[in-house]
Symmetry: C2
Subunit: 405 residues, 2 copies
């Protein structure tokens, strides 16, 4: 089994590459280091001391004897490099993490909106066009988001990607159809994922490309059994207002003695999954590839749901931190329910790590252990969903955002 991991230096990509390597796959990583470069832009860094790629890969070689090959280029820009690699390596599966993945970052300014759009949509289209042009039978596994569904489902359980609806025709008949769940994105980042879905559907229909699209919840946790094998393999932990998820920000606030800041009423319900389950889900998705001619396989990659204020309470109970309610910068409903179908992964054998069991480890092994590396000023979320802020620091005649590296 050969797997190409696009975005294999990132928070999900890196542990996925190691997990698949340990499971016996031949793994090649492509990454343009955009996530590290964005750290430079935002003047933040991972709480955990992540190592340069070549150090990481050497440590993995020492720990396991396994080689992981690594190519630094931009999937959204260097199509022919990608195509050549597909032809040389002939992977069975391409795991596509090569997208800008933070909603707040995508809303920081018009530049960030445009970077997110051009990077994400060109990356996805390049992957699909290259798979077609290669003529190889490559399964594309894509990391999508639960956010494509939106968060207001009238008490209905969110199905896995497709929705059965009834349409009344002009002559009074009723037609049943299964359609792609109507998109309702909450940020420019989420919007690109809904646009990705249409690309998958099209290339699947026209070119019979086999695609699995994983609608992932918010990932929590930092380490996997593989990243724990050597300090140099440690995974990144983001706590800043753009890339830090709500849970990570709570953990850091508690670790540095700040109150936990809950946006609005904290009544937003979100879906979660542990990073160990993420990498296991990717493996299961590869093992359970769609058949030839099958439509895009969509799975909800999440294991539990929580309201934000309840998360704050759990972290507060473990750490003793207090809770502060602040204004919500996002343009969203104050309170929402969320019921999610996730039967497919459970039937494939996923045994979830629960928040109740795993959270204490995060508090002691990550947040408290590395607390002295935290820059407290970076914790608050500052992106405004409705501000018309300008592209800070860019010349007025700058071209389209580019990540060429």
């Amino acid at each position: 089994m050969r797997v190409l991991v696009l975005g294999g230096d990132g928070f999900c990509g890196w542990p996925t590459a190691l997990h698949l390597s340990e499971a016996g796959a031949e793994v090649v990583i492509v990454d343009n280091l955009s996530r590290r470069n964005i750290d430079n832009e935002l003047e933040v860094s991972s709480l955990t001391p992540i190592q340069p790629m070549r150090v990481r890969l050497a440590a993995w070689r020492e720990a396991t004897g396994n080689e992981i090959d690594y190519h630094r280029f931009d999937v959204a820009q260097h199509y022919y490099r990608l195509l050549s690699l597909l032809r040389e390596f002939a992977p069975d599966a391409v795991v596509h993490f090569a997208e800008q993945r933070a909603a707040p970052y995508s809303m920081k300014s018009s530049w960030h909106k445009r970077y997110t759009v051009t990077n994400n949509l060109n990356a996805t289209n390049n992957v699909l066009a290259a798979v077609v042009e290669s003529g190889l039978d490559i399964h594309v596994v894509h990391l999508g988001t639960m956010g494509v569904y939106g968060y207001g489902t009238a008490g209905m359980k969110i199905p896995e990607g497709y929705l059965r609806v009834e349409i009344r025709t002009d002559d009074g008949r009723r037609i049943e159809q299964e359609i792609l769940y109507p998109a309702n994105p909450g940020s420019v980042y989420h919007m690109t994922k809904t646009q990705d879905q249409l690309a998958f559907a099209y290339y699947n229909k026209n070119d019979k490309v086999r695609v699995t699209d994983l609608h992932q919840g918010i990932v929590w946790g930092t380490q996997t059994p593989q990243t724990q094998r050597d300090d140099r393999l440690i995974n990144r932990f983001d706590y800043d207002g753009d890339y830090g998820t709500v849970l990570n920000r709570f953990l850091m606030q508690a670790a540095v003695g700040y109150p936990l800041t809950v946006h609005g009423t904290g009544g937003q319900t979100r879906a979660f999954i542990h990073i160990q389950d993420t990498v296991r889900c990717i493996e299961l998705a590869i093992e359970n590839a769609p058949k030839h001619g099958e439509r895009v396989k969509i799975l909800n990659q999440m294991t539990e749901t929580h309201r934000v204020r309840d998360l704050a309470k759990i972290v507060s109970d473990i750490t003793g931190a207090s809770v502060d309610y602040v204004d919500n910068p996002r343009n969203e409903d104050a309170e929402n329910d969320l019921f999610v179908e996730n039967r497919q992964f459970l039937e494939m054998g996923l045994e979830p790590v629960t928040l109740a069991n795993g959270l204490l480890t995060e508090v002691t092994e990550i947040a408290q252990k590395y607390a002295e590396r935290c820059d407290r000023d970076k914790i608050p979320a500052r992106s405004q969903w409705r501000a018309a802020s300008v592209g800070a620091g860019l010349p007025a005649d700058a071209d389209q955002p580019s990540t060429a590296g």
Copy 2:
């Protein structure tokens, strides 16, 4: 009334700019001349002898006394140029034609797929982000396509953009919802238009941008009363296999004494509209802008439907040409019905030019008049929907397609 016409040198953009100028609007055109450059690439040219932009604009000034300003830049690439122009000109409406608009061209090779995706999606996102960043209350009018609906509607009349569906909930209730009509694009070009729709919906929801999306049928006809005022104002007429629509190819085949080539059985039903009605529809769309807070207004911009083989018969009856049935390069159903709702424009006062009345003018005034300019080799459609053809003539390390001019 101030109107910015993006793509104002193109087949629809040019007569629209003139029509609005004559109707009293202050018009500014932006165009990167991509359509003329693509003629160079394809080694074809408009059957009609179109003039350079500055000649066109001088002729319009002579004919009417009206000034139309013109800026040559790429909307998909030069965001800050667009933003400055919005701030300086402060248009009431932006008419967005700045997209690659030929389905066969979008399927010629992986390079053409990628050019279409990056050009169209970045152009649309740039327009929306710039309108938001400008802080101005600008109505965005976009040329979409009937092709977003797909062509298999089980005998149902295609509504104007939104579809009322019933969903059964887990607890047995039925919820009625109006959703964006499920997308079913037939080419990479059409796919980008379905992705555009999600961008309009998002910016409308988050930023309250007022948007009208026009789902246009196949445009036929060449001239409008404005383009007829001076020979130098003549509109383009494309007959080649990529940009020439089915009707134009029939007209040319007849004019040069070739049989009319019908793809497959010719049972494909398509929607049509005359270019004079196109420009009138744009004017009506601007006059009937959505209110603040209103969702994206979607109108079907077409006036009649015909099966391709019936079109061939009409042209054959007028010209005496014979009809040839050849293989269909597209990946589509051989036969389809098409019923389209188009009440909104009719209620606004549109009085359609019908094929029955207008076609003879096209035969005599355009196809026969300029027949000696026709390159017969260029008439056949050569793009294959399923071939994995390479980007002809491109270096193997070429970057992302760019139209920087």
